[in-house]
């Protein structure tokens, strides 16, 4: 299967994240945890491209976060 171009970006706000890792439980393929229990997104930064077929998982991660530290935004919005 070929990945479609990313339409959504998973964005983490590190100042609100409290590191309990519910996001990684909800979407283990998309979010890993570092040795201190804080989320590691694909690519290592605070924004990760989400291919269309993984959008449902990304939504699960967003909804699992009790701190509202994750959200999805459309890739177009951030093109400069």
């Amino acid at each position: 299967m070929t990945a479609r171009p990313a339409t959504q970006i998973l964005v983490l706000n590190p100042t609100t994240c409290d590191g309990r890792g519910l996001c990684a439980e909800a979407a283990p393929g998309l979010v890993d945890l570092d040795e201190w229990g804080f989320p590691l997104l694909t690519g290592g930064g605070l924004r990760a491209d989400i291919p269309g077929e993984r959008l449902a998982e990304a939504r699960d991660a967003v909804h699992a976060c009790p701190a509202l530290a994750l959200h999805l935004e459309s890739a177009a919005r951030h093109r400069r």
Partner: protein
């Protein structure tokens, strides 16, 4: 490359201690604002663009672009918006312990900086203007006196207020400064930039005080005058804080592009065989000695040589100083300066602090060094501000610049017998913070 002449290199009046009268005799008044609001203002932004001025606080971002961004952000709000009118904040916090340029400028030429705040405020239509220096700064009485002189002589269209956020490393970050002015909190703000929504939700221009002093001179003399010296891609003069193994450590003003060797010469030259340099400060980068002396001091050239110009700190490490010990001391301090908001910073920095400490005291094995390198990769790009990234770069470049010393320490040896106490090339680390004060400078009851 433009060749420096001595008089062209001395623009900021660093040998003075200017009262308003002396300042006006030297520089004259800022050009009067003529015509309808906005006409002259627009021309100052154009003039700054022609000057090629880039921010001297560390980022070297084009000042005209920043001015325009604030103007556009303000214009995008409705005429009736209560948060439409911008705010200007002069950043004299100088959170970088190895830097002394901003304090020197504010002591010598306060009115040039205040003119810059005034001119910038006029250019972007700001209705509030502030100058920030850290709490407890020795500059406060002099600056209050300077502001009183200006109020008496009514030189400013809008009053400039002095604010004193807590003396914490991250409090000088621009979003933290806007946060402090707007809400009295000194923590960095992650999800919006000050030009979009800063102090009190207003578009906010935060500029380093040296940048503002240059801007005040550009308002008088024009952009082409400013660009008449220095490297074409980052013209003008710049202040450099020079420390470590040099005969006369201190702050010098030189045209950008001046070689590292000439800057060291301005400070009496190296006192010993220099083993390496720290560039940019504690969020900057270490470079090995070889070849660096010929590097022109401007952002691109320093980067090409593996350094970071940052807040224009140049620190020469002499042979009585163990660079790994210095790294451990600074890492301990930087870890204590986390604002504690983000996991990779609040937990990651203490972890790398412990790793580099083990290395410095020769208790680390090869596995510990590898873990340190891996962790340095892990803490970058994941914080709400660049504090962990800067610390990671400081440590990673240090490990890379002194490979023989790392190997010696892993083998249980230190070529320097650790840093000799009182070594002049030991990096300055501020006293530990009072445990009873939080990051916002409040006392815990």
């Amino acid at each position: 490359m433009t060749i420096a002449t001595t008089d062209a290199a001395e623009r900021l009046g660093l040998s003075l201690r200017s009262s308003l009268a002396v300042h006006l005799a030297e520089h004259g008044h800022l050009p009067a604002s003529r015509g309808r609001h906005g006409s002259v203002a627009g021309s100052l932004v154009d003039e700054v663009e022609r000057s090629g001025l880039r921010g001297r606080g560390g980022g070297w971002f084009p000042t005209a672009v920043k001015l325009r961004a604030v103007v556009e952000s303000s214009a995008a709000r409705g005429r009736l918006s209560t948060t439409r009118r911008p705010v200007v904040i002069g950043n004299g916090m100088e959170g970088e312990p190895a830097s002394g340029k901003d304090a020197m400028l504010l002591a010598a030429s306060p009115h040039l900086v205040l003119d810059g705040i005034s001119a910038a405020a006029h250019a972007i239509g700001a209705t509030e203007a502030y100058l920030a220096v850290h709490r407890g700064s020795h500059l406060v009485p002099g600056l209050l006196a300077a502001l009183a002189e200006r109020a008496e002589a009514t030189v400013d269209e809008i009053p400039i207020r002095l604010v004193t956020p807590p003396a914490r490393y991250v409090a000088s970050e621009e979003s933290a400064l806007a946060h402090w002015v707007g809400e009295g909190l000194a923590t960095p703000v992650h999800d919006r930039r000050p030009f979009q929504s800063g102090a009190g939700g207003r578009p906010t221009l935060v500029q380093n005080v040296e940048t503002l002093a240059h801007l005040a001179l550009i308002a008088r003399n024009g952009g082409p005058w400013f660009a008449g010296v220095g490297s074409p891609a980052a013209p003008g003069t710049t202040m450099v804080s020079v420390g470590g193994a040099v005969a006369a450590p201190g702050v010098v003003e030189v045209p950008t592009g001046t070689s590292v060797a000439s800057i060291l010469d301005r400070c009496g030259g190296p006192t010993a065989d220099v083993t390496g340099f720290l560039t940019g400060g504690y969020g900057g980068a270490w470079v090995p000695t070889a070849g660096f002396a010929a590097t022109p001091w401007d952002p691109d050239s320093v980067r090409a040589a593996g350094g970071v110009i940052g807040a224009s700190v140049l620190w020469a490490v002499g042979p009585d100083t163990c660079p790994l010990h210095e790294m451990a001391r600074v890492a301990a301090w930087m870890a204590g300066e986390t604002a504690g908001q983000c996991g990779p910073c609040a937990f990651g920095l203490p972890s790398v602090r412990d790793d580099v400490h083990l290395l410095a005291v020769r208790r680390a094995g090869a596995g510990d060094a590898d873990r340190l390198r891996a962790r340095l990769g892990l803490i970058s790009n994941r914080g709400g501000c660049k504090h962990p990234d800067g610390t990671a770069r400081f440590l990673a470049t240090g490990l890379a610049a002194f490979p023989d010393e790392v190997a010696a320490h892993l083998a249980g040896r230190c070529s320097f017998g650790s840093t000799r106490p009182g070594s002049p090339s030991s990096l300055p680390v501020p006293e530990a913070r009072l445990a009873s004060t939080d990051v916002n400078g409040r006392d815990f009851a």
